[in-house]
Symmetry: C2
Subunit: 396 residues, 2 copies
């Protein structure tokens, strides 16, 4: 596997475009298109929120089709917009399909931004000719910019791998900096590859990789109405299906999604820390995930991390109410390699060394439940003054 | 029912005491005692956290006994302190019992403060003679002060009611300002009454009242290791057992606990708002509680409230992932009497009037799920810069 410069442009057979459409702000790229002239197999994972956006409904209906294009917009979520919102998504994707000369059913759509406001359909429709005309490989770098909302920087990553059928590439982009929570951990993420995979292989591998990456990060514990992750792989007469090749594909996709996940955490709203929460020794992997998630989402843990306060009691407390099987006398906690709780007994530790660790931007907290062999890793951020600032001023 | 001035001192048969013991800080009341020379029936509700403090273990063992006293300390939770922590609680309550000439098993204990630090046993033991000597009705006002940690003011309330057996009083105190979450919503709350109730009546009524009050408020969604609520009622040959009298007792206890709950919310760490979240039209009461709890705990909702931002999309979104049965097209939301979403359709509203409502310290958000007749009310706060400040500087 090789890490490539740039992002989506590394993947053969796709073209890209982005426009300033004025959906909410002027002079901001807010509409983008990923297109493949070859039809693709697609796999998608979407929010589990019962209130979900119109484009999520549209994607769920179409994800099993032969897919050519994904249309994206930022600054408007098209969520809580009722039947009109869904009709708007249909009208827009119909018009795009007409101009690309493809079936409407082969176009997916994803939106992110404010909830409860109708899309400015006419503005978008009038930009579609320019969007189609602008399709090129070079414009790939504009797409991760066009989907940004409170993100401070675009997120893209790409790798290549060598299989028995030759070299292939996987590129991915993501946006999201608040409302990132497990069960679709990001607002939007799009992956494309020139490796041809059968739909069922693509689906199995994509779900597995998302579970360990985008579904294992948290910023504020809220679950969005719009969470969407989609991967496209070209339909072919000659699929990658050797088990070793599929393993290489999986490793490469995992690498892309892992990198995108850490970029999301690094750019968490107001975050000053990127923390890895590693739970081991749980009765089951599921228990480990419960504990890792609850610790990662605890406001008291997150404020302690922000304040560089080694308040391990808050970590023990969060593990205690996570629902995981836990016994106080089996619990051990360390910050990096500094043990501070050993099987229920607080240890003396060097405060200066610990302070140095907690002053880093990135470090790992290890929690050993001492109950079995289950394990899980989560990525989380601290909660800072800036998180409050960003989120108390979002729509006004 | 009549609201009384002051708190615990209104209840006949109890005496009180508090001392500066230097558990963590000098010149702070941090040790307190509630005592009844008549043995009492007790009912208690405790944290559901699997990591629970030594005094919680002690209370669980003793709550069914004839109870004379509750010893309380602040500034040290005696949690995650292992077998030594439990032994310390035993030694301290043994010594108190000896000096009061009562059985050890008749003494309860509750602690609040930092987790993972052993109690300064000798300091506490040496204060016990002064604590016992100081017992008086007048010292009641010191007890809610002695249990404060980050609370900015003591919380006490008392009422009287007239039954067929004469007039009785109920007094209560509470502390807690962060880590207040459903399933024992406060760190510590103590209620006493001179109304004699059989243990099973006391227990049934106490559980019911707590469920609608202390278990229906949230500040940061964290669940403490020390949450404790206890009520004492004198053992008697002549119990209050007429159903009308018991109903009067329940209403009075509910009034005390409701008032204490709103005092806790008003004093939430860094809180600038006290918000009532009223969910109606749920399929079941349980569904309503799920939605009310999730909306009340959502960081995005809480930051919007802080910023006076009528971002109802975040409320819909939180309701959507609460686990309650919900359909977008049935959902209605209003701030006080201003409807902003009507069965899935956003309404035009007067921004100025809404801004006036959201500028108040207290207001109500109504969410009608339109699915049935279930309802639930939660109390919540906003999350402000000061919450972050208080909690990032707690132990250091």
């Amino acid at each position: 596997m090789k890490i490539l410069n740039g992002g989506l442009e590394n993947v053969r057979g796709f073209s890209f475009s982005a426009r300033e459409c004025g959906i909410k702000y002027e002079n901001k790229l807010d509409l983008a298109l990923i297109h493949s002239s070859t039809p693709c197999n697609a796999s998608g994972l979407f929010t589990k929120n019962r209130i979900f956006a119109a484009p999520v409904k549209l994607c769920r209906e179409r994800i099993g089709n032969r897919i050519h294009s994904i249309l994206m917009n930022s600054n408007n979520a098209n969520a809580s917009t009722g039947q009109i919102g869904y009709q708007n998504a249909l009208v827009i994707t119909d018009e795009l399909a007409r101009q690309l000369d493809i079936a409407s059913e082969s176009v997916l759509m994803a939106s992110t931004g404010v909830i409860g406001v109708q899309l400015p359909v006419n503005k978008i429709i009038s930009e579609i000719p320019h969007l189609v005309k602008g399709l090129s490989a070079e414009n790939a770098r504009l797409v991760p910019i066009a989907i940004m909302t409170t993100d401070t920087r675009p997120k893209e990553f790409a790798v290549s791998f060598s299989s028995s059928m030759g070299d292939f590439n996987i590129g991915g982009i993501a946006k999201g900096s608040g409302m990132i929570a497990p069960d679709m951990a990001t607002l939007l993420s799009f992956l494309i590859t020139d490796a041809p995979l059968e739909r069922k292989d693509l689906d199995t591998i994509f779900r597995k990789c998302i579970n360990d990456t985008l579904n294992s990060i948290t910023i504020d514990g809220d679950m969005s109405t719009n969470d969407t992750a989609i991967i496209l792989s070209p339909i072919s007469d000659n699929y990658l299906n050797d088990s070793k090749d599929l393993r290489l594909f999986e490793d490469s996709l995992m690498a892309v999604l892992t990198k995108l996940s850490s970029m999301l955490i690094d750019d968490g709203e107001g975050a000053t820390k990127s923390i890895k929460v590693v739970v081991s020794g749980a009765k089951t992997d599921e228990d480990a995930k419960k504990a890792a998630k609850t610790i990662s989402e605890s406001l008291l843990v997150k404020t302690a991390i922000f304040g560089k306060d080694p308040n391990w009691g808050r970590i023990a407390c969060a593990a205690g109410y996570s629902g995981a099987e836990i016994e106080e006398e089996n619990l051990s906690i360390s910050f990096e390699n500094i043990k501070i709780l050993e099987r229920g007994t607080p240890l003396q530790f060097d405060k200066e060394t610990l302070d140095k660790i907690m002053s880093r931007r990135e470090y790992t907290i290890n929690i050993d439940l001492g109950m079995g062999r289950g394990k899980s890793t989560f990525m989380t951020t601290d909660i800072s003054y800036d998180y409050i600032k960003i989120n108390s001023e979002y729509t006004t």
